[in-house]
């Protein structure tokens, strides 16, 4: 067991080192001129030379990588050019917006996806199953930025139900004090229900768009987990006992797929960050995704590589956790 843990920890550490190597190569080695990438083309000779040495570009590549590692280890992720603030502080500022979006979209995705997947599996080959199959495949096929634009066109442009871009209507901007960073919570804490309504109106559409992709994945995975359970003997026993379909599905089969489901939900939560890149761009949602794309478009390698590194870190860690969870809960994987 101890050996296993040690090996797992080593693998994790190696993967992280790989991630760092990748962002190092992308950010520092591949650009033809990393100095100009930071100070721009107009910098005078003196500034250029100073930064060249400051960035350690006169050192051998191994030394550069080591310096990169040690500076990250001491919490120094560099300064964002666009805002001239530390990148980490920027990310901390924008992250709650994305977290709020991802959370609501996950609630939507799981709320629809889990029951749909359960019943699609229970009535395999039925009309419902075909519809579920089509809906999930469409979720994999429709580009989320287009779905977002169509949503804006219909629900904002034509029907006027949804709010436009941003997190609240522009005249509500900054009215409630930012205690948690989640606009709905902040508004509720301040007791300002008009802001709350506006926030909800703005949140609905992006969350639904993002949630649709999550729902597609959740439905699909739930269906296949359920199919595996429904062919087991304990289900036949339950049927023979004369239990109702609802009882069999929800009281007998469902608890057994719960672990797998939770690990899937964790991955979907992480995946929402990827989805948010395009959706936040469409809705001008001031979150992590928009920060990343803006940094990329401005050529700010410091900020964008830190974002990329962070996403990689979150994914590797989520994978590790779901792996561990499996081992703890399912005794068959322990031996």
């Amino acid at each position: 067991m101890a050996v296993k843990i040690a090996r797992g920890a080593l693998t994790y550490a190696l993967t992280l080192l790989g991630l760092l190597l990748m962002t190092f190569v992308l950010g520092r080695v591949m650009p033809v001129d990393p100095v100009s990438a930071v100070v721009g083309w107009e910098a005078d000779r003196e500034t250029y030379e100073r930064l060249y040495r400051e960035m350690g570009l006169d050192q051998p590549i191994f030394v550069q990588f080591w310096r990169y590692l040690t500076s990250l280890a001491s919490g120094n992720f560099g300064t964002a050019l666009r805002t001239s603030r530390p990148v980490l502080q920027d990310i901390a500022n924008v992250f709650p917006a994305t977290l709020e979006l991802a959370t609501v979209s996950l609630i939507f995705g799981a709320g629809v996806g889990v029951p749909l997947g359960m019943y699609a599996a229970a009535r395999r080959g039925s009309m419902l199953d075909t519809i579920a199959r089509f809906v999930t495949l469409a979720g994999y096929s429709i580009p989320n930025f287009w779905l977002a634009l169509m949503g804006l066109l219909v629900f904002y442009g034509w029907l006027g139900w949804a709010g436009g871009s941003g997190r609240v209507a522009i005249y509500f901007e900054g009215i409630v004090p930012a205690r948690t960073g989640f606009i709905l919570l902040d508004a509720a804490l301040a007791g300002d229900w008009e802001v709350f309504r506006s926030g909800l109106q703005h949140l609905m559409l992006p969350a639904a768009v993002l949630g649709y992709a999550s729902m597609a994945y959740i439905t699909r995975m739930t269906r296949s987990f359920m199919l595996a359970q429904l062919s087991q003997e304990y289900i036949i026993t339950a049927r023979v006992k004369g239990l109702s379909e609802t009882e069999i599905i929800w009281r007998h089969a469902f608890p057994n797929i719960l672990v797998q489901l939770v690990t899937i939900l964790a991955l979907v939560y992480g995946g929402a960050v990827e989805g948010s890149v395009l959706v936040e761009t469409v809705f001008a949602w001031p979150g992590f995704g928009q920060y990343l794309t803006n940094s990329l478009l401005m050529g700010d390698l410091n900020a964008s590589m830190t974002c990329v590194l962070l996403i990689g870190f979150v994914f590797v860690t989520l994978n590790l956790i779901s792996d561990l969870l499996y081992r703890v809960v399912d005794p068959r994987t322990r031996s």
């Binding site: 693998t11 190696l14 993967t15 790989g18 991630l19 190597l21 990748m22 962002t23 992308l26 950010g27 591949m30 650009p31 075909t130 199959r133 089509f134 495949l137 469409a138 994999y140 096929s141 429709i142 580009p143 930025f145 287009w146 634009l149 169509m150 804006l152 066109l153 442009g157 296949s224 992480g270 995946g271 960050v273 990827e274 890149v277 395009l278 761009t281 469409v282 990343l292 794309t293 990329l296 478009l297 050529g299 390698l301 964008s304 590589m305 990329v308 996403i311 990689g312 994914f315 590797v316 994978n319």
Partner: protein, 303 residues
């Protein structure tokens, strides 16, 4: 092969008879596969969509009604009508013709990425799976690092460094798409590595390269084909996403993602600018997904 053929029954075509040659056996299994495939309406729909895409791309000059990049500033932002089926854009280009020509770019990207990625993934996966040990550890560690990033994020990072263009977008997508195939090929290889027929070939003195190429790779092909087809849908979405962010194909190229992006400004007064190219992306993406899903039912009996 000296298999005695069964006495031919009058009413059975040679497709049903006992196979007397490898060729016939292959055709028969293809035919039975097709029979399974054809019972799935969703899969057939997917196939039809892809065939339509190929047709449109091949005959784009005949199908398009206008020049896709010719501007006509006297006819800007016209709604769909008999003259311009999908309307015109902000500089008077015919949206229908642009969508038609856009199919060529989509097909070009999908084809190129798949052709580059599949052999790389197969090579890495089968080598790791067949040799095991250190080769396996090293190759899979590298694969895992690439898999740690969501594909769009990694493609974004690569394009950001390489500079925005269609070619760089293709390179970026290539770099992000091979690990999935490698993982799959490795898993398939692991299941057959210790089987008797591999041992038999090895005892006959076949080189490792020969074992991998002639005896391992063919066994991986069916699941790799399924994965590659489903990958194509993902490639289309990533390419469109990059185009949408302005990091893929550049104006005035009629790439669907870029078209959606430039139509965004006119969303509320010219809905067709965003709707039409997006619909094309969704349809083609759905086609590849349906096809891949149907192929999985035929080629991969386990799932």
């Amino acid at each position: 092969m000296s298999v005695q053929s069964a006495p031919p029954a009058q009413n059975e075509s040679w497709l049903y008879r006992k196979a007397t040659s490898n060729w016939q056996a292959r055709l028969q299994s293809l035919y039975f596969g097709w029979l399974t495939f054809a019972t799935n309406p969703l899969a057939l729909t997917g196939l039809l969509i892809i065939l339509a895409l190929l047709f449109v791309a091949a005959f784009a000059p005949l199908i398009a009604t206008h020049d896709p990049i010719a501007q006509d500033l006297t006819r800007t932002l016209l709604p769909p009508g008999p003259e311009h089926w999908f309307g015109t854009d902000q500089v008077g280009r015919d949206v229908y013709s642009r969508v038609v020509y856009g199919s060529r770019i989509t097909l070009y990207v999908v084809f190129l990425v798949t052709v580059i990625v599949t052999p790389i993934g197969l090579a890495v996966g089968t080598i790791a799976g067949y040799f095991g040990g250190w080769a396996d550890t090293v190759l899979m560690r590298v694969t895992d690092i690439f898999l740690a990033f969501p594909s769009l994020i990694l493609a974004l990072a690569f394009v950001a460094v390489l500079g925005p263009s269609l070619e760089n977008a293709i390179i970026a997508m290539t770099l992000t798409a091979w690990p999935a195939i490698a993982r799959l090929a490795r898993a398939e290889t692991m299941t057959i590595r210790n089987s008797d027929y591999i041992a038999a070939v090895e005892l006959q003195g076949a080189s490792r390269l020969r074992v991998i190429i002639r005896h391992v790779v063919p066994m991986c092909m069916s699941s790799v084909i399924v994965r590659a087809t489903l990958n194509m849908a993902a490639i289309i979405l990533t390419a469109a996403g990059l185009g949408f962010l302005g990091l893929g194909a550049q104006q005035p190229s009629p790439e669907w993602g870029a078209m959606t992006s430039s139509g965004r400004t006119y969303l509320l007064n010219a809905w067709w600018l965003v709707t039409m190219p997006g619909l094309a992306i969704a349809t083609v993406g759905l086609g590849f997904n349906l096809l891949g899903d149907g192929l999985r039912d035929v080629l991969d009996p386990r799932s």
